[in-house]
């Protein structure tokens, strides 16, 4: 409950933040909802904190072309409440499942992904959505794809003197759908299993693209390409979804983690369940045009039949 001593610097710009880090080392702090809890338990003692929480321009969500740029300081609450029908549903809903309302009011997207907690929700979602991470550092700016951003347990591609400035995700078109499904830890509300599905469905109801990721099980969010591969080219029936979801086990690797709340074996068994739930929901969201078309045909078909019947009479 009492963090250890540290020196504190406040950065007013990304450049200043990078310079301060170069000069003093330590850790960046934004909302503090990943870092302060471990400091309060004295499990982290960074010595120096560089507060980037006030840097203008790192906050908020902006649409540019076919993507959304989420500033690193954007809170989970802002993401969860973001109202744009092209904004990925999975991200919006996953943000709303993080912690609790107070935590979401203070915790930031950047802080969350930089911490790279394996039980966190956003890394899984960003991985499935194919997000791009924008990074600023002493040697200028660079961008890293989600597949390369999460490198291990509490580890990312961020170098010590680099600041994450934004995460960019593709906008969803009418043929896209995404969803996040989560098995909550009953105590902490972190994900024991989190699954995100990002699906494209053709006008005939066929899955044309599918990207799936899972979290909570492995040291870092893990992509499940086997699932997507099995589903592409198929209709999103319950059976097809179940068969594809089961393949997530092929992608988990050997290092599934367990604890007193859920053993590794249980988590493995839950992975297909939650992948299946995410796929079903995402498919439903993506397939609405196909369903509408089918419905129109059904309804119109009836009408035509009726006209024909009356004409014959």
């Amino acid at each position: 409950m009492y963090p250890p001593k540290f020196d504190y610097y406040r950065a007013d710009s990304v450049d200043e933040a990078v310079a301060l880090m170069g000069q003093h080392g330590g850790k960046f702090i934004a909302g503090g909802h990943s870092l302060l809890p471990v400091m309060k338990m004295r499990l982290a003692d960074p010595g120096v904190l560089i507060d980037i929480g006030r840097i203008d321009g790192l906050r908020g969500i902006t649409r540019s072309g076919n993507s959304f740029r989420i500033g690193a300081l954007t809170t989970h609450a802002t993401v969860a409440a973001y109202d744009d029908r092209h904004f990925p549903d999975a991200l919006k809903h996953a943000a709303g499942m993080i912690g609790d309302p107070q935590v979401r009011n203070r915790g930031t997207v950047g802080g969350n992904v930089a911490h790279a907690d394996p039980a966190s929700d956003l890394p899984t979602v960003f991985l499935a959505l194919g997000a791009t991470f924008h990074i600023a550092g002493a040697n200028g700016a660079r961008s890293v794809h989600a597949a390369n951003f999460f490198t291990g347990l509490f580890e990312t591609a961020l170098a010590e003197n680099e600041v994450l400035t934004a995460v960019e995700v593709p906008a969803e078109g009418i043929e896209n759908g995404s969803a996040y499904a989560k098995l909550f830890n009953p105590a902490s509300r972190y994900a024991m299993v989190g699954a995100c599905a990002n699906i494209t469905v053709s006008l005939t109801g066929e899955c044309t693209a599918c990207s799936v990721a899972v979290g909570g099980l492995t040291p870092k969010a893990t992509a499940a390409p086997s699932v997507g591969a099995a589903l592409v080219g198929k209709q999103l029936t319950d059976d097809n979804i179940a068969a594809a979801a089961a393949l997530v086990l092929n992608d988990l690797g050997g290092d599934v983690m367990g604890d007193i709340h859920a053993s590794a074996e249980y988590r493995r068994q839950m992975a297909p369940v939650f992948v299946g739930r995410a796929l079903t929901l995402a498919g439903h969201r993506a397939g609405w045009v196909a369903r509408l078309q089918k419905n129109v045909k059904d309804v119109a078909g009836d009408v035509l039949e009726e006209i024909e019947r009356r004409l014959r009479k």
Binding site: M1, Y2, P3, P4, K5, F6, D7, Y8, R10, I29, G32, H33, L36, P37, K40, M41, L49, D51, G53, A77, G99, D100, P101, Q102, V103, N105, R106, A187, S188, R189
Partner: protein
């Protein structure tokens, strides 16, 4: 390090260690002991306050991070001696027993209810995910928040 903030409408300034948590700043520096500390892992919500108009857990904010902000604590909720409608509702509906979680509950509830006069039970129960109570079983808290939300909107 010098920090200044507006707390319950009053400008305050103190020189504090950077590591001082906002909840300790409020309790020990300002004597505002309404925000309680019930856990050390950002779980219980007893320390919930309003920071620039949103409900946050003051145990997981550094006082230096709150520099320049405007803060409302449970002590600042009643106006001119009149209880806030949510305080009144907690009293009317027996929404508290030992009272320890109550300040945080009420501070979370006022934000949950703002602009939502017709909260459902489910919305309230989910909206209070960040607040633990060991006494009431939540039942009367749900009733209180429902009544408080209506009263805040001017109904009753």
């Amino acid at each position: 390090m010098k920090v200044s903030m507006t707390v319950n409408g009053k400008a305050t300034e103190r020189d504090v260690e950077p590591r001082m948590l906002l909840v300790h700043f409020l309790r020990d520096e300002l004597g505002l002991t309404g925000a309680n500390i019930g856990c050390d892992t950002t779980q219980c919500g007893s320390c919930t306050i309003h920071l620039n108009g949103t409900a946050v857990k003051s145990c997981t904010v550094l006082a230096v991070q709150a520099d320049g902000t405007s803060i409302t604590t449970i002590e600042g909720l009643a106006q001119n001696g009149n209880l806030h409608p949510m305080q009144q509702a907690f009293w009317d509906k027996h929404g508290l027993q030992c009272g320890f979680c109550t300040p945080g509950m009420i501070m979370a509830a006022t934000k949950l209810a703002a602009g939502n006069p017709h909260l459902t039970d489910e919305e309230i129960r989910h909206g209070l995910e960040g607040n633990l109570c060991r006494c009431t079983g939540y039942e009367n808290i749900v009733r209180a928040v429902k009544a408080g939300a209506q009263a805040m909107a001017g109904g009753d």
